[in-house]
């Protein structure tokens, strides 16, 4: 049986993705533990820190917070991608794949694809949590759909970063620690939990161009969780958060997909 190359990549990728999804089905506990932390963040910020954080304009902090938590959730969720690959490597499953006459990028495409499904589930759960504590979608269905789409696209790009990290380091534990070093500053030095205005100088510039901020900003605007009378920061990224987020997501995939694929070919279980 001969199959053309692009069809093979897609088909092999799907076969691998299906394998990963079976795991979520068989071990749903994984999902529970990964989702507990964002839910804790919602509660922590909404009810503990929220009172001390001033949001400009006539917006309730909980509404301000939930889009930020969405972004944080999908960024943290990307750790799943790296951890999954590191685990496969440790267990010799990557070796088995690499000895098969399958497409060389299929394992990574399959992994990042299955993690989109994973993100759909986690964003859904976070949205329900948000609705319970008082977050609302105030714009049209199309806008809301666009917001969710941006979340998933951005999450997909971060998955590729974590795929690269997962192949680079020797074990699942290291992935978790390594990703923490990247993810923590990205999510906390952003407008996800506090308004951009609360940062100064260099930090402010970082926040404005941080894709976590722009993804959050895009979601807030599309869900209608902002006060239109409050001016948006002048940076181009914040003025055009949707386009900027999509562009930077594409750039991330363009850089990290080839890097991760190269690493996949090189890496071996010792």
């Amino acid at each position: 049986m001969t199959t053309s190359a692009p069809v093979r990549v897609a088909r092999d990728g799907w076969i691998v993705a299906r394998r990963n999804l079976i795991k979520i089905k068989r071990v749903p506990e994984v999902l529970v533990f990964v989702l507990i932390s964002p839910i804790m963040f919602v509660l922590l910020f909404a009810y503990v820190f929220g009172g001390a954080i001033d949001v400009p304009g006539e917006v309730d902090y909980k509404e301000f917070l939930v889009p930020g938590i969405f972004v944080q959730t999908v960024v943290f969720g990307a750790t799943f991608t790296g951890a999954g690959l590191a685990e496969d490597m440790q267990k010799g499953i990557i070796d088995r794949f690499r000895s098969l006459p399958m497409s060389r990028s299929a394992v990574l495409i399959g992994r990042t694809t299955s993690d989109v499904f994973y993100n759909v589930i986690s964003v859904t759960i976070m949205a329900l949590t948000g609705l319970v504590i008082g977050w609302r979608i105030r714009e049209g269905v199309l806008d809301a759909a666009t917001a969710f789409l941006i979340l998933l696209v951005f999450a997909y790009s971060v998955s590729w970063i974590m795929a690269y990290v997962g192949l680079l380091v020797p074990s699942v534990e290291v992935v978790n620690n390594a990703s923490f070093i990247v993810i923590f500053p990205l999510t906390f030095v952003s407008n996800a939990f506090v308004p951009t205005e609360s940062f100064d100088g260099v930090l402010r510039t970082f926040v404005e161009w941080n894709p976590v901020s722009t993804a959050t900003q895009a979601c807030r605007e599309l869900f209608g969780n902002t006060d239109p009378s409050v001016p948006v920061p002048d940076a181009w990224s914040m003025q055009h958060p949707t386009i900027y987020t999509l562009l930077i997501s594409m750039a991330i995939v363009a850089v990290f997909a080839p890097l991760a694929t190269r690493q996949y070919k090189l890496s071996t279980t010792k």
């Binding site: 049986m1 199959t3 093979r8 088909r11 092999d12 076969i15 299906r18 394998r19 079976i22 795991k23 068989r26 071990v27 267990k91 010799g92 499953i93 070796d95 088995r96 794949f97 690499r98 000895s99 098969l100 006459p101 399958m102 299929a106 071996t268 279980t269």
Partner: protein, 325 residues
């Protein structure tokens, strides 16, 4: 017969260590070759090069006439690899594992499914086939992993330490499975640190140490090389040692070794049966009582020790033994 594997001068360096330092290897079609060596000898590295998982720093290798470096994809279509770790996905069932591998070998959905069931049956996993592999015993996982390597019925099967870490019973079961496969004509390249495994399964053995082949031949040839048959005696009374040594000297074809305890003696002999009978008679006549008296052929353990033991102490290059095959 054609060569299924032909590798020459393979070199692979890791920072300061040379894992392979000029390994040559040939496996004839339809035969079983065991790559025998201690941990860290370079067995796994050699196998990984042939399975296209590693690129060697020097040397050439062909599998089924296809260049491993020039056309790795072509090689992958012709090999089945089962590694040191049972590379099964424990969350998938046995059936799902095999079906996935079949589809990745491009068998197509229908064939992959049928093949998965067939292999589960063949490997005694039919009943467990729809349970997640997590619930399998170590032996069952290895069998499932081995089945995975056979999904596409590849012309060359590569097994890297297939029974390491298994209990005796599972090992024997796996050997039976492997022997059946080989009887069906599959070419097998096997690495092992168990001499018994090489002895039982392989047509030809290559002893490897420090990344190099230090001896090759059939199990019998290797054993003969190490010293052939010998008579071993344990005396009831150490005081009769000199008398016993004189008797053994009559039948020995080399110096008689006396152990430190002064009661155990070993004599290399040519015609074992006759030499043993004569020793027995002479002992009777001289009234030498023995606790043990026997004829022993060297085991592969002796071969292994004499080959690698020397190599570890002295300059390895001067110890190279070639056994003509």
């Amino acid at each position: 017969m054609a060569d299924m594997v032909r590798a020459s001068g393979l070199v692979k360096r890791y920072k300061s260590v040379e894992a392979l330092s000029g390994l040559d290897l040939t496996v004839q079609e339809g035969t079983v070759l065991a790559l025998l060596g201690p941990n860290g000898a370079g067995k796994t590295t050699a196998v990984r090069v042939l399975a296209t998982l590693l690129t060697p720093d020097a040397g050439t290798a062909e599998v089924a006439g296809i260049d491993v470096l020039a056309n790795p994809a072509g090689v992958r279509e012709r090999i089945g690899l089962s590694g040191q770790y049972a590379a099964v996905d424990e969350h998938l069932t046995g059936y799902e594992n095999l079906e996935m591998v079949g589809r990745l070998y491009d068998l197509g959905r229908v064939k992959a499914r049928a093949r998965a069931r067939e292999l589960l049956e063949q490997f005694g996993l039919a009943e467990a086939g729809d349970r997640p592999a997590k619930t399998y015993s170590g032996g069952m996982r290895r069998r499932l992993d081995l089945a995975g390597a056979l999904v596409a019925a590849p012309p060359l099967l590569i097994l890297d330490e297939p029974t390491t870490g298994l209990d005796v019973r599972s090992r024997l079961q796996l050997w039976d499975v492997i022997r059946e496969l080989v009887a069906g004509g599959t070419t097998l390249l096997l690495t092992t640190q168990y001499l018994e495994e090489a002895d039982r399964l392989a047509d030809e053995i290559v002893v490897i140490d420090h990344g190099k082949a230090i001896a090759r031949g059939t199990a019998d040839q290797l054993k003969a090389q190490t010293g052939g048959e010998r008579i071993e005696v344990v005396l009831a009374d150490a005081a009769r040692r000199d008398a016993a040594e004189r008797v053994l000297a009559l039948v020995a074809r080399g110096p008689v070794q006396v152990d430190d305890d002064g009661r155990s003696l070993v004599a290399p002999v040519h015609d074992g049966q006759r030499a043993l009978a004569r020793t027995l008679r002479e002992f009777e006549d001289a009234g030498i009582a023995v606790l043990e008296l026997g004829l022993r052929r060297p085991t592969l353990d002796d071969v292994f020790l004499s080959l690698t033991g020397h190599a570890a102490e002295a300059d390895p290059s001067s110890e190279t033994v070639e056994v003509s095959a």
